[in-house]
Symmetry: C2
DNA sequence: GTCTATAAAGCGATAGAC
DNA sequence: GTCTATCGCTTTATAGAC
């Protein structure tokens, strides 16, 4: 019989897929087993503290991805226009290829919200602050930059909800496009 | 011993509170009992089909509220500026007083998403279309009206996520305020 | 590192007394 | 209309073989 030997990041990736599809609470060990073939033994080997540990690992992996692909590029940008275009493209591609689910948003609902409150807050704070920085570099006032950054992150998150509700990625892509344009639009 | 005799809408209201706090799946019968005092007997008297029935009743009640307080006023508006101001105020008050949770958005995550896909889609469609109508009344082009309406609903939904993430209603109120201003802002 | 068997607790749902 | 007791099932978690 074929046995697959996994490493931890494979397991985390598989868990993320299940949690996106079924939610953190709906992603039970039997569903995980069924959808990924990963059994209880492996799960508790990699995550000795159980399900909370699994959720933490998944959120950490998402957080690392955004740090590297979105936040750092924004913080080190020299061309605001390009930085914002890059962010929009990367974010759109990320969520479209991941069922239009943001796991950080997902965990603000349900039982474990308090457990991950700090991680959730930093995820959104980092994003908004990095984006604010780019807008200030582009010459916007601190207040205007902060407001536009917050609105952009909000409309992206709301766009994910509407994409799931409509069952239509195109809706989300349109929202991201317009958000991109609004970020550097001339002040009225 | 005191016995409370409930009517159905009281129970639905209590259920909505629990589901907002704990999610649909986290709101188990024992949690409901513990938080509301409503026992299994009453629950299955009002909702013979069980938990799915409870979720449906809660979503129906939310839907009715929005229909009456938000969608109908938008559809019958004659003064766009006032209609949009009224909507913003009503929506802000609604969500602030309900833990910044939109149950229609919440149910797009988790196991029961397919069961309620149709209801979710109409909730958002009705909202966006009613708002689009007001914007066209205000003289915007069909495309511009539809885009702005969609963006406004999205930014409100995303604002709820950020409000929960930040643990701060003020963030949400700012987002709603700016959304209101953007809706009727002059075309650039 | 992965497996299976199993424990202990919790789940939704039902039945029947009041 | 509400209660409690209970059923059958699933859940997370553990133990021990391989």
């Amino acid at each position: 019989m074929a046995r697959t030997v996994l490493d931890r990041s494979d397991v985390v990736l598989a868990l993320a897929g299940v949690f996106r599809e079924r939610g953190f609470e709906g992603g039970s060990l039997s569903v995980i087993k069924q959808k990924t073939g990963i059994g209880r033994g492996s799960l508790y080997h990699f995550f000795p503290e159980g399900k909370t540990d699994m959720a933490r690992a998944v959120l950490d992996q998402v957080s690392d991805w955004f740090e590297e692909k979105i936040f750092v590029p924004l913080r080190t940008a020299t061309d605001p226009q390009k930085a914002i275009a890059d962010m929009s493209r990367a974010v759109a591609e990320y969520f479209i290829s991941r069922q239009c689910v943001c796991l950080f948003a997902a965990i603000t609902l349900g039982e474990e919200q308090e457990t991950f409150a700090k991680a959730v807050k930093s995820y959104f704070t980092e994003w908004v602050e990095a984006l604010t920085g780019v807008l200030r570099l582009a010459g916007l006032s601190p207040q205007e930059a902060a407001d536009r950054a917050l609105d952009a992150v909000a409309v992206i998150q709301g766009g994910l909800i509407l994409a799931r509700a409509y069952g239509d990625d195109q809706t989300f892509l349109g929202i991201v496009d317009r958000a991109e344009n609004n970020l550097l639009a001339p002040t009225r």
